[in-house]
Every structure is written in C-alpha cells, then in structure tokens.
C-alpha cells in the first residue's frame, strides 16, 4: 500500500516531463516545466532530502521557471520558423530508440547498485561535532567540502559576468532589464508592497535555521532575490546601473570574505578553509552572513539580465 505514495507522484512527474518534451507550443511546454519543477519537490521530500526540496522549489522551479516563461513569451515569434525545422520522422524515431536504450542501460545500472549502499553518513556524523552545526548538510557544505561552496559562489559570479558581457556596447554600464512601470495603485503594486517584507523575513528565517535544520543561504538568498525582482517588476524601483562600484563591491563581498577566512585558516588551523578549534561555528556564521547578501544580489542581477538601458533613464518614462 505504501508504494502508491511513491508511484503516483513518480508517474505524475514522468507524465509532466513527457508533456514538456512533446507539447507543440513552447509556452505550454514551459508552463508544464514549472509544474514539473514543483512536483519534483514532492519527490525530494519523499527521498528525505528536505534541503534539496527547498533548493529545487526555490531555484529549480521558481527562478528557472520565471526565466523560461519570460523567454518563451518573448520568443513566440520564432515558433513557426522553429516548427518548420523539425527533423524528419526517421530522425525522431532514431532519437527515441537511442534515448530509450540509454534509459534502459541506466535502469540496469541503477538496479545493479550494491545492496549495502556505500555511504559517508558515518564519517559525517563522526566529524560533525567540532563544526558546531546541527544540520549535517550544512556541515558538509560549510566545513568538509567548503571549497565546493566557494567555487559555487564563483560560478554564480562568473555567470553574471557572462550575462553582462552580452550587453550591447552602446548601453554598457547601464541598467539591466526593461523599465517596468505597472499601474502604481494596481494589484501588482499592491502585492509588491505587501509580500516583500514577509518574503524577506521568511528568507532570513530559512537562512538562519539552516545551521541546525533544513535551510541555508542559497535557499534564503533565492527568496530575497525573488522579492527584489517582484518589487522591480512592479516598477516601484529601478535596477541599479552596473557601472556603480558599490554594486560590484557588494557582489564580491561574500566570496572575498570566504577566501579571506579560508586563507586565515591556513595560519590558524593549518589548511585552507580549515577552522581553528572552537571557532568553527562563529566563522561559519560570519561566512554565511557575508555570502547571503552577495548571493541574493548576484541571483537577482542574473535574473534581471544584461544591461539594456542607459544609466540616466528617467524614472517615469512612457511605457513601451
């Protein structure tokens, strides 16, 4: 009987994935993908990965979904041209057969996984004590494999640099994204005034609770970034020009603090990104507090996109 609680969401996720792939219209496929992302969260909860469920719904379903919906709305004009380029039936059949073969091979491999599954859970629990954090995943992210988390922050920063490098030359240094100006006393402006305070509190709560329970800085930063985007889309504020040095300093403050504490670890604890005894928890908190705003800013700016408008854009220009 217990199997139905796993099989039903699994089949639903599979069906949504198939729909996303075979739907004729790109916009419909994107909407299907967002539903697919949210249903994945259920799967993560059933796999006892609550931290991952948070990340998947915040970043996988939320931000990625917004990105893709906005793009598919903008690319409606290219639908017909794309449909004309559809490969012949024979190619599609070959692709289907080969993809099925890969899936079958993977299924064999999954079923052939060793029964006493190898795990690092004992090592994590054994070494978690000195780190001072209660959530084992945060211990892995911030202590045992802190380098991966540092590299991840650098990946986000590099993705933002890549996004900015795609700006037209004439507006370099300008403001990213179009100038939204919704009706000031409309519904969007209303929710953009009511929701952000709540969202920021929830985001900081999720960030803070991450030390001992599911949560963490990436999930928290995503929620704070989403609130900033909401305010941006309601036209209550305008995106900052990217030439502003303060903005760039804010972007890099997190990674720089992380690297600084890492090199301090060389002197005090004998290894890069090692924490001296007893100082582990406070240092992790300092790093997380430094990373959180930088990540929220970086995620927000990645979502805002490449600069499109000159810096001196007047706040209330006519809606296009």
């Amino acid at each position: 009987m217990i199997e139905v609680f796993h099989l039903v969401p699994a089949l639903l996720i599979g069906a949504l994935a198939v729909y996303t792939t075979v739907a004729r219209d790109t916009f419909a496929a994107t909407v299907g993908f967002i539903a697919y992302g949210l249903m994945l969260t259920v799967a993560w909860v059933q796999l006892h990965g609550v931290d991952v469920a948070l990340t998947e719904s915040a970043i996988g379903g939320g931000l990625t979904g917004l990105l893709l919906v906005r793009a598919s709305a903008k690319l409606r004009a290219t639908e017909a041209a794309a449909r004309a380029e559809r490969p012949r039936a024979s190619t599609r059949l070959a692709a289907a057969i080969l993809a099925a073969a890969v899936s079958a091979g993977l299924a064999i491999a999954v079923l052939a996984l060793p029964d006493p599954a190898p795990t690092l859970a004992p090592e994590v629990l054994a070494n978690m004590g000195p780190t001072g954090v209660g959530n084992p995943i945060t211990a892995v992210l911030m202590a045992f494999r802190a380098t991966d988390t540092l590299l991840e922050a650098i990946v986000l920063l590099l993705a933002l640099v890549g996004v900015w490098s795609l700006a037209p030359d004439r507006v370099w240094g300008g403001r990213p994204g179009p100038r939204y100006n919704a009706d000031p006393d409309g519904i969007l402006a209303f929710i953009a005034r009511v929701l952000p305070p709540i969202g920021i509190i929830v985001g900081i709560y999720i960030f803070w609770v991450g030390a001992d329970d599911p949560g963490g800085k990436f999930q928290g930063a995503t929620i704070v970034a989403a609130m900033w985007l909401l305010v941006l889309m309601a036209g209550l504020t305008d995106a900052p020009p990217i030439s502003r040095r303060l903005l760039r300093a804010g972007l890099v403050a997190g990674p720089v603090a992380f690297i600084a504490i890492g090199f301090a670890g060389v002197a005090t604890a004998g290894a890069f990104l090692a924490y001296p005894d007893g100082w582990s928890k406070p240092l992790i908190l300092v790093v997380e507090f430094a990373l959180m705003p930088s990540l929220a800013l970086t995620l927000g700016l990645i979502m805002a996109g490449a600069p499109e408008r000159a810096e001196a854009a007047s706040p209330r220009e006519a809606a296009p």
Partner: protein, 583 residues
Amino acid sequence: MTADAVTTPGGLLLPLAVLVPFLGMIAGLVLGGRNAQRVAMVTIVAGVAIALGIAQSMLQSGDTLVYVLGGFAPPLGIALRADGLSVVMMVAVAVVIGGIGVYARGDFGTPDGVREARAPLMYWLLLLAVWGSLNLVFTSGDLFTLYVALELLTFAGVPLVCLDGKGETLRSALRYLLFALAGSIFYLLGAVLVYGEWGTLDVALLAQRVQPGPVTWAAAALMTTGLLAKTALFPLHLWLPPAHAGAPPAASAVLSALVVKGSFFIVVRLWFDAMPALPGFAAAQLLAGLGAAAIIVGNVVALRQERLKLLIAYSTLAQIGYLFIMFPLAFDAGTGAFVRGEALAGGMLQAISHATAKAAMFLAAGLIYATLGHDRIADLAGAARRVPLSVLAFALGGVALTGALPSGAYVAKKLLLGAADASGQWWWALVLQAGGLFTTGYVLLVLSHALRASADAPAPRVRVRRSQEAAALALAACSLLLGFADVVLPGDLVKSPLDPGELATLVVTVAAGAAIALALGRRLPALPAGAALAAIGSPIRRATVAVGLLVERLDFALRHWHVAGLSLVVLTLLFAAAMSGAR
C-alpha cells in the same frame, strides 16, 4: 583503511594557483575600466611565478604534491593533487596565457576618453577565469570538483566566443554552450553512478576500489563521451569550427590552445589514474579510431577552406584527434591497464606543443587580418612583405605542428612511434605519419600564398604593434624549442639535424606535403611551371578534389544538431559496449 592523503610541503601553492586568477577577476571587476587590464597583468606575473614555484617544488620532492583542503582528508573532504602531468600542463598554460596577455594589450586596451568599455573589461575577466578553472582542472582530485571546474571553464569560454556581439558569433556561442552543457551533464551522470557504486569521488581512492561492473562501465562510458563532447573530438565537433573561427583572435587563441585541453586532461585523469584497468583494449581502439577520423576529416576540410581562421580551427580539430592516438599505445596488454609510460609522455608533449603553436598561429592570423583587412587565403599575396614577422610566427607555429626536428611535436611523434612499435600497433604509426604530412600540406599551402609577391602593392592598413608580433613569435619559438625538453625524457631521441636519416625524413615530408596541398588545396597559387604541372596533374587533381568535396560534405552533415546529438548517444552506447566487452 587506506592511508589518508596528507598535505605535502609546498602544497599550499595549489590552492593559490587556483584562487589567484579568480581573485584577479574579482579585483578586475570591482576596480573596472583600465584597472582590469593592470590587475590582469599583475595576476599573470603572479600566476607564472606560482606555476614555476610548483614545478620547482615538484622537481625538488620528486613526488606528487598534495594539499588537503579544509583539513578533512578524502573521502570526506577534497584533496588537490599535482603530479607530473598537472605541473607540466600548468606551466604550459601559464606561459601561453602570458603570451596571449601581452598580445591582447593591443586589441583589448580600453580606448581613451572612455572610463570603461565592455569588450576590454570582459576579455581580461574571462581570460583570468579560464586560467583559474584550468588550474582547478589540473589539480582537483575530486570528480565533483572537476565537474564544477568544467562548468567554470565553459562559462568563461562561451562569452569569449561572442565577445564582438555579432549575430553569427552569438549563434556559434549558443550552439557551443548547449552542446557543452550536454557533455557536462553526461559527465555528472557518470560521476553520480561512480559515487553510487564506490562511495567516494576521490580519484586516488577510486584507483584502489574500482572493479569492472555494469555500473562502472555505464559511468565510464558516460563520463568519457561527455568529455569528448566538450573536447569536440570527431564526430562531436559541430560547435568548434564556427566558435573558434568567429571569436576575436586573442579569444580564439585561448579557446583553441587552452580551453579544449581542460576536458582532454580529465579523460587522461580518468583513464590513467581513476580507473586504469577498466576501459580495456577495445575502448582504446575506438577512442583512437575517432582520433584518426578527426585527423583525416579535420585536415582535408582544413585544406579546402577559403578563410585562414577557419583553416586553423579545422587544424585544431585534427590536432585534437592526434592527442587521442596515445591511448591504445599506452595500453599494457599484460596487466590490461593503461600505464604511465612513453606514450603518455608523448601525448602530453603533443598537447603542450599544440597549445603554444596553435596560440601563435591564431595570434599571427589576427595580425594578418588586421593588416590586410581580410583573411581570404587566396588573396594573401604580399602578406609576407607587409607583415613579415606575423607570417614568420605563423610559419614557425605551423612547422612546430608538423613535427619538424627541434619542435616538441617531433619528440612527441618519436615517443608515440616508439610506443607503437613496442606494442606492434603499426596502424597507429601510419596514422601518426599521415597526420604530419597533412599538417605540412596546409602549412605549405598558406605559406605559398603568403610568400607570393602581390601584383599591386597597397600601403599597409594599420601599423601592427611590435609587442603583439613579439608575443606571437615568442609562443611559436616556445613550441619549436620544446624539442630540447628531451633532456628530461628518457633515451637519445633527438639526433642532430644533419643526420642523414633526419634529412631524408624532412625532404619526404615536405614533398608529400606539397603533393597533398596541390591535390586538395582549394585555391592553388600560380606556380612557375603551372601549365605543365596542371596538364599532367589535372585528372589526379579532379579525383582528389572530388574526394575532398565528399569529406567536406560528410563534415557538414555531421555538424547538423540532431546528427551530432544522435552520435553523442551512439558513442555512449558504443563505449559502454566496448568497455563491457573487455572482460
């Protein structure tokens, strides 16, 4: 339990080698404007010093450098390791980045009157990001950290392709990004299966634990194919020619010489360190078979190109194939595993000499384009007179690639041929020789056009900066002088150039190269005995041109998206079958 990895003296240089370029990128982004270039120059000096420091401490200790990050040894934590291969590649990358950095001061200096311009700022940031991610690829001992390094490398490489913002380069950049992402997700899928089976992602621990089995075959096949997609080995090369030819010259040099070496290095790390006994003989033959096909298709299509930068891009395609020939030669039939011997040394030396030579060729092509205003091979007449040093740099780079005497490729070819004879695989020896002849072919083709006196003598369009020509020449000289690296390698490989055997080989190579150029070259220069030669050769020429056209059409067909996608999947299945068949 196996002994935990422990930090060796001088190990701290490894995290420094990874983080200094990224810190340079961060500082360049915040300071912005002209400071980005100054920060990049300082970072280049620091980075070269660190690479030499690592090499020095490696020679001193004679053993692999290890640095345990965060104080937690694998399998829980991550260790950075630098063995002979990593150190050699890091020094080579540092030198090439230095050369390209000096060249790029000319193309990507911030114009005066502007506080900050997009392309210059972005170029310096992305150059440092490529360097940081490459150092991470060479030193990381953890498969997941290698995945993050691969993504960093792709995120830094793609914007370089479309730095000029034109439509065609944006399309090439998108095609490159999408296919590279497919490659890295295949690699991650393989890494996930490896963790599921062996409970660790650390390369050294995997070497002790891995046994053949269905899960590990699937993982190895997925990871290898994913990495081949990112290295653009034939038939997964749809994105490379337009991307590398379309980018600005200083960016093409970084992409062709360095970025493709990152994923190639991880294939070497996997097949020689993580799971040496797993892939087996059949998979190595398949891998080298793809390499041989890349050599043939790459070179033939290169000979048929109209534009110089596309010719060099297709030459990269062929040279990438050349790099994979070493795998079957390093296979020890006795133990059934890949051993670190002469074949591996030859392969890595070939990779390094290609890096320096290809960078020099792209930089020289950039200078020729800046001077003549175009890079059509047929109209290169008079180039040698107007921009002699650039043509000389191109020539030296080309000669270095063909494996002429003092070049690194010569020593590499000797090592690989020795390994082929030792293992009795004569067919790979043939492929190696053919590769050299083809390379000579297109180098002679380009030089014959460039050295021709042009009928009209238009004034040079732009005075080329001395430093740029010096940088291109220095890199070309580097690849030529690598031959003297044999003092480090075993055996007396480098005979004196006046040795009759060497002279004979040289003459045969040049003659055969000329024949190939005449047969397949798209535009033939007006030779003095043109009419007589044409009368004799035209039936042969018409046949070879037909063959050349056939190969060009095959390449064009393979560079359609869905055909490349299907070959990606077919290759995964083939590698899985080849590896499972080995037992």
